[in-house]
């Protein structure tokens, strides 16, 4: 085991690490998550995107219109400024990218595994945080709202689709999220590949 951890990774896998680092850079420019809202009166669809540093509507005015709909049920206005996590998330991603470049320069299996752990921890924390925000938005409603449905909460799903009144809300990873998952996959592949090469050379 120790031998595997300290193993210097192959040239090919080293390039793959560099690829992961470059791929992760694109997450700055792509939405990580996407929530879509479908309702009969919005045949063109409504949606919002969560980026590494901001929340936007799927199209220019979607966020404003989502907030307009939400005001009937007394939901707090969704604005990027109210989510402080968005301020340091870019640095966390920067740390991951930095790690990839370090691994490229000092190619060891244990650094790759560290990368895997980082992404997993980040993913779990991120998903928990995301869930917590959804919970707060969905449950902390203004009691003076025009529409109060007893017992109703408006928490969108973490992953998948859910019916809320006449709206179907769906929540799925977007390109940025898919890239994060893909990076995880690539790193796992590298570790598996290094182990296999070590086994074969025995």
């Amino acid at each position: 085991m120790q031998k595997l951890l300290l193993k210097k990774i192959s040239k090919m896998n080293r390039l793959l690490i560099l690829g992961v680092g470059l791929l992760l850079v694109s997450v700055y420019f792509l939405p990580i998550w996407h929530i879509s809202l479908d309702a009969p009166q919005y045949p063109e669809g409504l949606g919002m995107k969560i980026w590494i540093d901001k929340i936007t509507g799927s199209s220019t005015y979607d966020l404003q219109n989502i907030n307009l709909l939400n005001h009937y049920i007394g939901m707090h206005e969704i604005v990027s400024e109210s989510v402080p996590e968005l301020l340091f998330m870019p640095y966390v991603l920067g740390f991951l990218i930095f790690g990839a470049f370090v691994t490229f320069l000092y190619p060891r299996v244990y650094l790759t595994i560290l990368g895997i752990l980082n992404i997993i921890i980040l993913g779990i924390l991120g998903m928990y945080d995301f869930w917590r925000w959804e919970y707060n938005y969905g449950h902390n409603l203004n009691p003076d709202a025009p529409i109060v449905v007893p017992g109703m909460a408006y928490q969108p799903p973490l992953l998948g689709c859910k019916e809320m009144l006449n709206i179907t809300a769906c929540s799925f990873p977007s390109w940025g999220g898919i890239i994060l998952f893909a990076s995880l996959g690539i790193l796992a592949f590298i570790v598996w590949n290094e182990k296999r090469r070590m086994d074969v050379s025995k």
């Binding site: 063109e44 220019t60 005015y61 219109n65 009937y72 025009p146 529409i147």
Partner: protein, 626 residues
Amino acid sequence: MILIGLGYGCKGGAATAALASDAAKRVYVAPGEKDEVYAFLSGGFSGQMSVYGIPSTRLFKIIPVFSVFPENGYGYDEETKNMLRTTHGYIPWDDSHHIEASMTDGKQDGRWLFLNANNTPRLARIDLKSFETKEIIEIPNSAGNHASPFATENTEYLMAATRFSVPIPQASVPIENFSKGDFKGTVTMVKVDPKSGRLSLELQILVPGFDYDLSHCGKGKSHDWCFFTSYNSEQAYKMIEVGASKNDKDYILAFNWVRAKQCLDQGKASNFGGEYYRNYLPENQPAISEKLSGVKMLQPKDCPGVMYYMPTPKSPHGTDVDPTGEYIVGGGKLATVIPVHSFSKLMDVKDKPEHRSGMIMDIPILKYESTLAGEVKKPCLGPLHTEFDGKGYAYTSCFVSSEVVKWELGTWEVQQHLPAYYSVGHLSIVGGSSKDPYGKYLIALNKITKDRYLPVGMELPQSAQLYDISGGKAELLSDFPTVGEPHYSQMIPAKLLMDKAAKIYPLEENKHPYAIKNEKDARVVREGNTVRVYMTQIRSHFKPDTIEVKSGDTVFFHVTNLEQDFDIPHGFAVSGAPEMPNLLIMPGQTRTFKWKAPKPGIYPFYCTDFCSALHQEMQQYIRVLP
């Protein structure tokens, strides 16, 4: 009976209605599906333009142009009321006849529509992104702007010729002086800015005092020319019905507008009086109304080669140019043939003295046979207007025998008679007046509808009819009632327009001087006896919501709709406001409701456009203090 007894070979006639059995299927547009074509119909005496879907013939919208429209406040609010200003004052109505679609290289480009006002001579531009009237220009030195607004091939100019000749400049002369040459007509060249669409008067040409009726401009080889029909070349001024129908031939005036522009540039036109208004509605701002004066006037004698008369039987009404630009079809409303002039022949003979039979006001009159390409013999009774399907066929409407006649260009043979219910005036084919018709649908725009619909009192519905002309034989598909008299139409394929339609006014681009973009800026400001209410609307409330003013104050409600969502206008109406009916304010738009605060009391105001679940709660009060 006598007319029918004349027997022009109008087989079938209006009495037989051969409706193809699957016609219903061909006009059926299932719920949620969209029509293939937009039809824009002028409203005749309604002064408006209406938008229909084809083939369903469903009415989508009425676009107010020359008449006030209480439904949305057009012509009433501080933003649009200046659109209806003229040198005669504020005119809340007109008679809108002809729609022209803007063209690039002779093909519809889906940017603007133009509409004439016949009664108080004006010309309007309707924007096809917002489907709203953006500009109205008055035509001076004109009385009855009927032969208008016909566009040149690249919409360089719109032509406008006067229907009622009058003394120009205006003067109180004995009416019998009409026949002594005291009455004149004008042809006006209205320049269209190719980028913005802005309209300006470039030049007028003084022409003999006939009645100029209709026009169409050339295309391709005839690009430089426009053609105007005229009637009453007799210059009758009493019992015109008889007096103007005496001559065997009146004229189509061939006008070389490129030459006219040349003469203008060479300084051959002179300064002439004439005051006129130009009213322009910038995006989401109050209309800018300018009073302008003076035009450049050109006399045909000072510009040889600018005009020629082509004799055309008999009291010609329509003049239509085929897609190739070669044939100029006359619609002699009392003629027994459809005369077709050849543009090449016109070019050939126009300056050869042996082909001339005289001059009027230095405009050469050519011989009828010299420019004639052919005649469609015994087509029908009362041929008026012709459109083209782009496949070598022409369709002419015939008022008296109430039908549309299909005939072939070149052979001049009649192919088919299509009955119309009843008394068809103009007809329209999709792109049928352009260089590139999309010859699938034809509508007949009828004047009378007896027995076609449930009776609704003395005045029956106005009506049009839809035909499918895509096959060898044209087929009647349906009848549909219309808004006002469906005078003329432009039909445009939906794919050219539907994706360009504006959805909102972007709030960040709103440059209205009284706009506010945030509820926090909502406020009431008093300036002496004038009170300005800077108000916002969003589902489902106003800000400010309760307002106090004093009896006798002039109150301006500057209302901005803060929504940025497609199809969420809000309304604004104040109970018992005598001069301002209602406002519909589009998402991101600012409009102004002017109100004279009446006697003390409490006056409700509310949103009139059902906007949300809490629309009914979108209401508040104004307290008027003593």
